[in-house]
């Protein structure tokens, strides 16, 4: 396991003075990812906050080759690049780096195609659970009840389970992690790097303006999501599902999930669930969903 001290020493390939908001989770997720992958990486980034974070050309806040691509094409452009890398005999990591909108919604089909074909692509979704670049609209990853500018009174559906969809594709590697745990991100990216074929990592990425919390809480919320079971830490590797970190402790009965309210209350996107009138119906449904989903995962982890 990598230590914080190791991580701190590694070269940063995401450059400071970029255009991200203060407290942006992309900073944490991408810095860490590029530490795990190193310079022999080529990035494919669809429209998302990461496109903006790079700043205005002809300069860019990133030190690896990067192709900014159309919103729905991270996986497919990467598929082509992976084929080219094979033709050229180049030893590089082809990294598709996309937001949840570009992954759960508009980019899903290209992912599914690449996954089915087994294209040699590492796909990472930094998941801030909405379209932040266009100003906070709902995505397939937005959780039930969350306010966005297209769900003013709260989203009426649960988030899509992208990890499970990828598991259903039986790709060599699927993992879920969180900005709350840079070391977990590092380990998972590192492991994925070493595998061939289509690999998927979903990084929960609490976003201050999108989730409406103060910018210093990014990491904290990334942890609370795990501690409440709102998000799970797991790996699916060569057909087997395993939990990590706090999630693993809960699976082993060593810990319990905290009430999800502890997580929700800190975000103003959920404020309408608490005031002016407490929405127990929705709060309970979220809590129920957490339980049911975890059980579903547990049942798979057992085989």
């Amino acid at each position: 396991m990598v230590t914080v001290k190791d991580l701190a020493k590694m070269e940063d390939l995401l450059l400071k003075g970029n255009a991200a908001c203060a407290g942006c989770p992309i900073g944490v997720a991408l810095r860490t990812t590029l530490k795990a992958l190193g310079r022999k990486t080529i990035m494919f980034v669809p429209a998302c906050c990461t496109s903006v974070v790079q700043g205005i050309g002809p300069g860019a806040a990133i030190s690896v080759p990067l192709f900014n691509t159309a919103f729905e094409t991270a996986a497919s452009v990467a598929s082509g690049a992976a084929a080219a890398a094979e033709i050229l005999g180049k030893d590089v990591t082809i990294l598709a780096w996309a937001g949840d909108g570009g992954t759960y919604d508009i980019g899903l089909q290209a992912i599914s195609g690449a996954a089915e074909r087994g294209d040699n692509v590492l796909y990472i979704c930094y998941n801030n659970q909405m379209y932040s670049n266009t100003g906070i609209q709902r995505s397939g990853a937005t959780p039930l009840g969350a306010w966005t500018t297209t769900t003013w009174t709260g989203k009426t559906e649960h988030m899509k389970d992208m990890g499970m969809i990828l598991i259903a594709h039986r790709v060599p590697y699927v993992a879920a992690t969180s900005v709350g745990y840079p070391d977990d991100i590092y380990e998972k990216v590192k492991k994925a790097k070493e595998k061939k074929g289509f690999r998927y990592i979903d990084i929960l990425a609490p976003c201050p303006p999108g989730w409406r919390f103060p910018s210093d809480m990014t990491i904290r919320l990334g942890r609370l999501a795990i501690e409440t079971g709102f998000w799970l830490l797991y790996e699916y590797e060569d057909g087997e599902l395993r939990f990590n970190g706090y999630t693993k402790l809960v699976a082993e009965g060593k810990r319990e999930f905290k009430p999800v309210e502890e997580f929700l209350r800190l975000q103003d996107r959920f404020r309408h669930l608490f005031e002016p009138k407490r929405r127990d119906d929705i709060l309970e449904e979220i809590q129920r969903w957490i339980k049911e989903r975890f059980e579903w995962y547990l049942s798979l982890a057992k085989i």
Binding site: A19, A20, C21, A22, N133, P214, S215
Partner: protein, 192 residues
């Protein structure tokens, strides 16, 4: 160069401070004051909280057919005096143009604005906001207050500004903002 009868103002603020809203409220007020042609628009980037931003305002007795950027404004409004160190706020400002700045230190500001070329007006909106409890996420809301100062300096009746504010919010928020407008209207001072 400029089109006669059109008054043009540039707002400087920071991402999250509401410069665009200020420009739009001013447009509403100006319309109420009989200016048939009003326009308010942001400089269109992908601005992050804290980063310097710009918004524009036009008004005229006639319909405004202009859609281009304002290059030579008649006035400048600065929501945050710390911007003076980061941005050249008076760039393009007409000779004798007006500069309205939210600041608690008019003296320091005066050092940075050439009062021989421009007319400088200062107003302490931050104090007004803090005083009225107009604070969001720890940051004082100054974009409505400063409109009071603008109304005075540019000559749009302050009642119209107050009305615009009241149309845009409800209840106590509206009240507080309206009060802020009036206080700034009363307290703005030319510094020369």
């Amino acid at each position: 160069m400029g089109i006669s009868g059109v008054i043009e103002i540039r707002f400087h603020g920071r991402g999250g401070q509401g410069a665009v809203t200020a420009a739009r409220l001013l447009a509403m007020a100006a319309y109420k004051a009989g200016f048939k042609g009003v326009q308010a628009y942001p400089f269109f980037g992908a601005e992050r909280r804290g980063a310097p931003v710009v918004a524009y305002f036009r008004m005229s007795k006639e319909l405004v057919k202009l859609h281009s950027m304002i290059k030579n404004p008649d006035a400048i409004v600065v929501l945050d005096d710390s911007l003076l160190d980061v941005v050249d706020v008076t760039s393009g400002l007409k000779e004798c143009g007006k500069v309205i700045i939210n600041t608690s230190s008019p003296d320091k500001v005066k050092e940075k604005i050439d009062t021989n070329k421009f007319k400088l007006y200062c107003v302490d909106c931050t104090s007004i906001a803090l005083d009225l409890g107009l604070v969001i996420a720890g940051i004082p809301v100054v974009n409505t207050a400063i409109l009071g100062a603008v109304s005075k300096v540019i000559g749009i009746p302050v009642e119209n500004v107050v009305d615009a504010v009241k149309e845009s919010w409800r209840g106590s928020v509206a009240e507080k903002n309206a009060k802020a407008v009036l206080r700034a209207y009363d307290s703005v001072k030319e510094v020369s």
